[in-house]
């Protein structure tokens, strides 16, 4: 079942298109990567899902119902531009945000206590945001996003501003949330986190969706059909177009298969020496991303 179904969504600012006829379905559970360069329309899409702005035309369904204000309490949102009340105490601030999302006060307090302990900042609960380090403030910000136990969590560049240690903590939290059955939409430029976390992705470029699907399927689709080979005990000269340079008798190189099957190539390889490694090279998300943007920019 889809937690979010977007149909033919269009949004125009003046004469600039932010979203053109965009359709997207985000399945329940799992982590959905929303990719695209700056200005592609990601933030507009996220704002529409959060009901901050409205689309010009098209429909958005949340769990099969037309998106409406009552769904606000089931969505959590971490904007790219972070912000908290600087003069407000951590505790008061989190309780306030939870209650704004319709959580009753006693439950809100209980959850704030739980999360502050979990994130190891309970001793800072009476400090003002002003007095916290940037990393700590980011943790508070993250808590504010999930404090009301949303079913859908939208994270816009969640790792920016964190040092590697804290980024790891947040990453683990995201995985834990996913395991609890919460759907996470992750909008980011950092492709390594996409590869690590996302089950499914959609790529938006210049207000259009240019790519959508399961991460593994996409990688398969864009594989260059190239294999990495490790050869030892080389007894004859290798064909020149293999670009192999044996070092200490072991050569590591990649060859495009072309029309050959992997097995056919292996048989050929055996004539030259001992095959100690044979592995298909899959493209990184980074490469696919750059390639896709380039391809669509010339259209």
């Amino acid at each position: 079942m889809e937690i979010l179904e977007i149909q033919n969504l269009t949004k125009t600012y003046g004469n600039q298109k932010a979203l053109s006829n965009l359709s997207l379905s985000i399945p329940k559970g799992g982590i959905f990567g929303l990719l695209g360069p700056n200005g592609a329309g990601k933030t507009t899409l996220i704002r529409i899902i959060n009901q901050i702005i409205e689309g010009d035309s098209g429909k958005v369904f949340f769990k099969g119902e037309i998106l409406q204000p009552k769904h606000i309490s089931q969505i959590g949102y971490l904007p790219e531009e972070r912000g908290l009340y600087k003069k407000m105490k951590v505790w008061d601030q989190l309780v306030y945000f939870a209650r704004l999302k319709d959580m009753p006060a006693p439950l809100a307090k209980e959850r704030v206590g739980y999360w502050l302990k979990k994130m190891d900042i309970i001793s800072w609960k009476d400090k003002r945001i002003d007095d916290l380090s940037k990393g700590m403030a980011q943790k508070v910000q993250f808590i504010s996003t999930i404090i009301h136990e949303p079913e859908l969590l939208i994270l816009d560049e969640p790792f920016s501003g964190f040092d590697p240690l804290n980024a790891e903590i947040i990453k683990n939290e995201i995985i834990e949330l996913k395991e609890k059955g919460i759907t996470v939409v992750l909008s980011t430029h950092r492709m390594e986190s996409v590869e690590l976390l996302c089950d499914q992705i959609a790529m938006i470029h210049r207000s259009h969706k240019i790519l959508e699907g399961r991460l593994t399927d996409i990688k398969q689709r864009f594989r260059p059909n190239t294999y990495e080979i490790k050869l030892s005990g080389i007894n004859t000269t290798l064909p020149e177009n293999w670009n192999a340079y044996p070092v200490n008798g072991v050569a590591v190189f990649s060859i495009p298969l072309g029309q050959d099957s992997p097995n056919g190539t292996l048989t050929k390889l055996m004539q030259y020496g001992e095959v100690v490694g044979f592995r298909e090279i899959l493209p990184s998300m980074e490469e696919i991303f750059i390639q896709q943007i380039k391809n669509h920019s010339y259209e």
């Binding site: 901050i52 949102y77 904007p79 531009e81 908290l84 600087k86 704004l100």
Partner: protein, 435 residues
């Protein structure tokens, strides 16, 4: 509705709990009475220990006599003008009044010499003394004796009484009404500016620190705006209430210490001894009390609270819209004109028209149009205003509030999400037109 209540609570508590709020609330009322206290202390010191100013008078006609007061003594002699000037120069005399031989029907050439510029009070005192003497002299010359003149001299003071519809009579005194209208108007004017500014600062804070994006994903911008306006209004009311209580309390302590019951009258007498003599203080005090009794304080207080809040709410929405349209407080100046101009018109109108003639046409319109009425109407209410005018003005103010909030809400809704782009009046107009 529940969410507006949450915003109101946050806006209220986050401000009231601040140390600066506590300081401003406690110190401001101390400043007024202490300034007043110092002023009284100085003037009391002066009146207890008056340094008598001697003025030399030379009268070529031999008919003038000027009575000395606590402040001035007059010594009459026959010295020459040069000698008189010299005495002033050397500091032997405070001033020198020279009255040459004059034609009583057309007196001219009377001159005062002084080292300092004489006060208006002194000059008018001298003028009235001489004038009275000339009049007496001329009446005497036409055959009326001075006894007869004294017998006919009468003191008149008019007591004004207004009749209301039920035929009840009330003693009025324009001065008291003036003071009440003046104070109420100024308080509303100040309240709108001080707390309107806080609304604007609050909106800019939320916008520039980007909390707004989180907030509007949980609450409608309009609810957020209203919550903020109401919350800050409540802070202002709290502060004003504390001020009134503290100023009242401290003032009465200060007055009590100096043993003064009627500070204004005392101060007036100190400044103008002649006026003080002319006023029968016992009578006057009674009169003022009677006037105060005649004022319907419940009506006055209720209308004050209504216009106080109505004016604040009407302009509060505009302040919020300005805050939403800019990125930093320094940019807000360019949009302040539409707020400042009508407020200033109301403020100046209160002094120039309303307080002087509460029933003139200009006063009527100033007190009806919602943008000036919160200030101007207070000037009329203190004198008593036809119930029809009051109802018309109040309903228009309520309507004006809905209108301003509707317009401001549109600007606010779009403005809070726009960062880093130049906004001008044309852009604002486009925002208002968007649905």
């Amino acid at each position: 509705m529940n969410k507006i209540w949450l915003v109101i609570q946050r806006e209220y508590l986050s401000r009231v709990q601040k140390r600066s709020f506590l300081l401003a609330t406690l110190l401001t009322p101390l400043i007024f009475p202490s300034i007043m206290g110092i002023f009284l202390w100085i003037s009391i010191g002066e009146s207890e220990n008056p340094s008598l100013q001697i003025i030399e008078v030379v009268d070529e006609n031999n008919i003038f006599f000027i009575e000395s007061s606590e402040q001035y003594a007059f010594s009459f002699s026959k010295i020459s003008t040069e000698e008189g000037k010299k005495m002033v120069n050397e500091g032997d005399r405070f001033g020198f009044l020279y009255i040459p031989k004059i034609d009583l029907s057309n007196p001219s050439g009377i001159t005062y010499f002084g080292e300092k510029n004489p006060s208006m009070n002194l000059i008018s005192f001298l003028e009235s003394s001489i004038k009275r003497r000339i009049e007496e002299q001329r009446l005497f010359e036409s055959g009326i004796s001075s006894e007869a003149i004294n017998a006919y001299r009468t003191e008149v003071s008019i007591q004004a009484i207004t009749l209301d519809n039920s035929g009840e009579e009330k003693v009025t005194d324009a001065t008291v009404n003036y003071a009440i209208g003046f104070l109420a108007g100024i308080m509303i004017y100040m309240f709108i500016f001080i707390y309107g500014n806080q609304i604007m600062q609050g909106v800019i804070e939320e916008k520039s620190s980007r909390i707004i994006e989180i907030l509007v994903s949980s609450i409608k911008p309009f609810q957020l705006m209203m919550g903020k306006i109401i919350g800050i209004g409540a802070v202002g009311l709290t502060q004003f209430l504390i001020w009134i209580i503290l100023i009242g309390g401290i003032s009465s302590i200060v007055m009590g210490y100096f043993g003064l019951q009627m500070p204004q009258q005392q101060a007036m007498e100190l400044a103008n001894p002649e006026l003080g003599e002319m006023m029968d203080s016992q009578n006057n005090l009674q009169n003022i009390l009677q006037v105060i009794n005649g004022i319907d304080f419940i009506q006055l207080t209720l209308t004050f609270i209504f216009y106080f809040l109505g004016g604040y709410l009407l302009y509060g929405a505009f302040f919020a819209a300005v805050g939403a349209a800019v990125d930093a407080p320094s940019e807000a100046q360019q949009f302040m004109l539409p707020i400042t101009i009508p407020l200033l018109i109301g403020y100046l109108g209160l002094f120039v028209f309303v307080l002087n003639d509460p029933n003139s046409n200009v006063s009527f319109w100033l007190s009806i149009i919602p943008f000036t009425s919160p200030i101007a109407m207070m000037g009329r209410v203190s004198y008593g205003v036809p119930i029809f005018d009051l109802i018309l003005s109040m309903s228009l103010l309520v309507g004006g509030f809905f209108f301003s909030t509707w317009v401001a809400g549109k600007v606010y809704r779009i403005g809070i999400l726009i960062h880093g782009s130049k906004v001008n009046y044309k852009t604002l107009w486009r925002w208002i037109k968007t649905n």
